[in-house]
């Protein structure tokens, strides 16, 4: 087997290993799954992270190099072959004999197949798809370009994940801003939707785009793409200072101690989506991950005079601790956004090379170059060996009417 094909077989072997063995887990998980000896082997060969292992990069690099060299070395030969096909057809000796009248029938078949006809030294030369000579070169070129431009697209993209509360605005490093106007888990009909209504503005505030984003429908704006990536639900509390009358609403995402004097206050532990009351009246909290907060319960500690009292509070309830009142609010759902900045030229190039690859393969497979020289008593087909189809057609055409 040739070197290039061996490299391709090795890519298959690595990919198969990378999909059959779970990737990027803790070493202990491999020991539990496969036993300690196999786990050692997996870790030593880096089969736990094949696609970022150095040998995988070396393999891909070798494949690219081999393909580049093959294609470059072959190109002059390809160009020469493309030019010479017609000349060769002019001088070639017929390889198959034609009986009386068969030449016309053959010419008819070739014309029907959209061959171009030329006269040369008293014989007819039929050619088709001469550009197809470049099919495999273009296929290889497009394959290399997909790898190179794809790698450039991945390396140059800047990606940040950010949670933004509805009503808040996130200002990016270059001054552009994203405002989350609203976020909904379900649409009006009750179907799961996970959609954020966004407004994105350029740094100078002159240009803006608004869109409701959801899976598959990111917002694209001046090289940015904003994705609806995750979501979460947070608690919310209205804090009222009874001494000076000041109020403030705070979002409760993580455990925190809300206090004015550092001693007395409310310690927020967690927000639960629901609860069940047992026959004896005791309450069991539910930890569901479905995103549905049907009966939300706040698990808090009331901290006062050095005493901590656990409290289960419902939205609307107020806890007054010292001089501060804490009124627990309905929970708010918020989106986790992924903000990706990509060079638009690279993105355009990537789409272009994708198209080039499909076009090149089409050229390779469906526009196979061929020339047929026809004299009164014989013919010859000049084409790659894979043109068996044409040879069969010619034979059947000649046999048919005999």
């Amino acid at each position: 087997m040739q070197f290039g094909m061996i490299l391709l077989v090795l890519v298959i072997a690595c990919s198969a290993a990378g999909s059959l063995i779970v990737q990027q887990r803790e070493p202990m998980e491999y020991v539990n799954r496969y036993g300690s000896q196999t786990a050692q082997l997996i870790l030593a060969l880096k089969l736990n992270d094949v696609f970022s292992a150095p040998y995988f990069f070396v393999l891909m690099a070798a494949l690219c190099l081999n393909l580049t060299l093959c294609s470059i070395l072959r190109l002059p030969r390809t160009m020469k072959a493309a030019q010479q096909l017609r000349t060769n057809a002019c001088g070639v000796q017929p390889t198959s004999a034609l009986e009386q009248g068969q030449a016309d029938r053959l010419c008819g078949l070739l014309k029907k197949r959209h061959f171009r006809c030329e006269e040369c030294d008293g014989r007819k030369i039929y050619t088709k798809n001469l550009f197809g000579f470049y099919g495999s070169f273009l296929t290889h070129l497009s394959f290399l370009l997909v790898l190179v431009v794809g790698a450039a697209a991945v390396v140059t993209a800047q990606v940040t994940d950010q949670t933004v509360m509805p009503g808040e605005t996130l200002v990016l490093d270059d001054g552009a801003s994203i405002t989350v106007e609203a976020f909904q888990i379900e649409d009006a009909t009750g179907k799961l939707d996970y959609a954020s209504q966004l407004v994105m503005k350029s740094a100078d505030g002159k240009r803006e785009a608004a869109k409701q984003i959801r899976v598959n429908e990111p917002l694209s704006f001046e090289g940015y793409k904003v994705y609806q990536q995750t979501y979460g639900t947070a608690g919310s509390v209205l804090i009222h200072n009874n001494l000076n009358g000041a109020s403030e609403v705070m979002t409760l995402i993580e455990a925190c101690f809300l206090t004015l004097d550092g001693k007395n206050g409310m310690f927020f532990q967690a927000l639960y989506p629901g609860y069940v009351t047992d026959a004896d009246g005791s309450v069991t909290l539910i930890t569901s991950t479905s995103g549905d907060y049907s009966d939300p319960v706040y698990d808090v500690l009331s901290v006062s005079a050095g005493m901590m009292t656990p409290v289960l509070a419902f939205p609307g309830e107020t806890l007054t601790i010292g001089d501060v009142s804490f009124t627990l609010q309905d929970p708010v759902s918020y989106p986790g956004l992924r903000i990706k900045h990509m060079n638009t030229a690279i993105l355009g190039a990537l789409y272009a090379v994708f198209l080039l690859m499909v076009a090149a393969l089409y050229l390779c497979f469906f526009t196979v170059p061929v020339a047929v020289a026809v004299t009164q008593d014989g013919y010859a087909v000049l084409a790659p060996k894979t043109q068996t189809g044409l040879l069969i057609d010619i034979q059947s055409c000649l046999e048919e009417e005999e």
Binding site: M5, L8, V11, I12, S15, S19, M357, F365, T386, T388
Partner: protein
Amino acid sequence: MEILFFASIVVYFAATMLQAVGVALRKEKLCRAARIAFAVGFALHTIFTAWRGIAAGRLPLANQFEFASGFAWSAAIMGLVLYARLKQEWVLTVSMPVAFLVLSYAAFQPMEIKELMPALRSTWFALHIGSATFSYAAFAIAGGLGAHYLIQLKKGHAESEIRMKQTDYMAYRLICLGFLLLTVVILSGAIWAEQAWSRWWSWDPKETWALITWILYAIYLHQRMRMKWQGRRMAWFAVIAVFCVLFTFAGVNKLLPGLHSYAV
């Protein structure tokens, strides 16, 4: 309407049997009956698929059942079109069992119509999955032609030299078509993944196995075009490669869940 689905399986089976007996006994009448049955089965299958699309309000290719049914439908239409063009019995001898077996596999999958999950609501969906059904069907028929070639060879050239060459060549052309379509599947999948999850490629098992299948067929094409392999060796290759297609199609969903696990 499910009755249409089961009716098409039965009719495809009848067509396969009639064709097998007709070819074995060289009875043209039986082969003609098989062709008619196959066309009827295909018509029933088409009506069922169209009904399901209308009932679901989307392209009926969203889960393993629908995808398998689409795969069988693609194999049937490819067989019928090739037969219409080539008028060669062996095209149907191979595509009939492919359509029957794949549709029977579909019958073992959960059939209820489910709402399309958000990640599948995309314009790339039609291109990505539509090309996959045709690509798999092309590879499966090519594998069937490979098997047919090997059986004929074993029988000691029961078919004429030209017929053997035609079978060999047709398998190669179908692999070219399947390869082109699989390229479209992979590229449109990458664009879609970027739209849905912001990543072009994540080495998810389904992606990885589609790539493995693609490389395997690239090797087939190189051996054919560069090393001028033909006949027996290529027939074996086409047969063996079908197992890789089948693993990508069904095995990955069952054994290696990942981002594509909705397809179970």
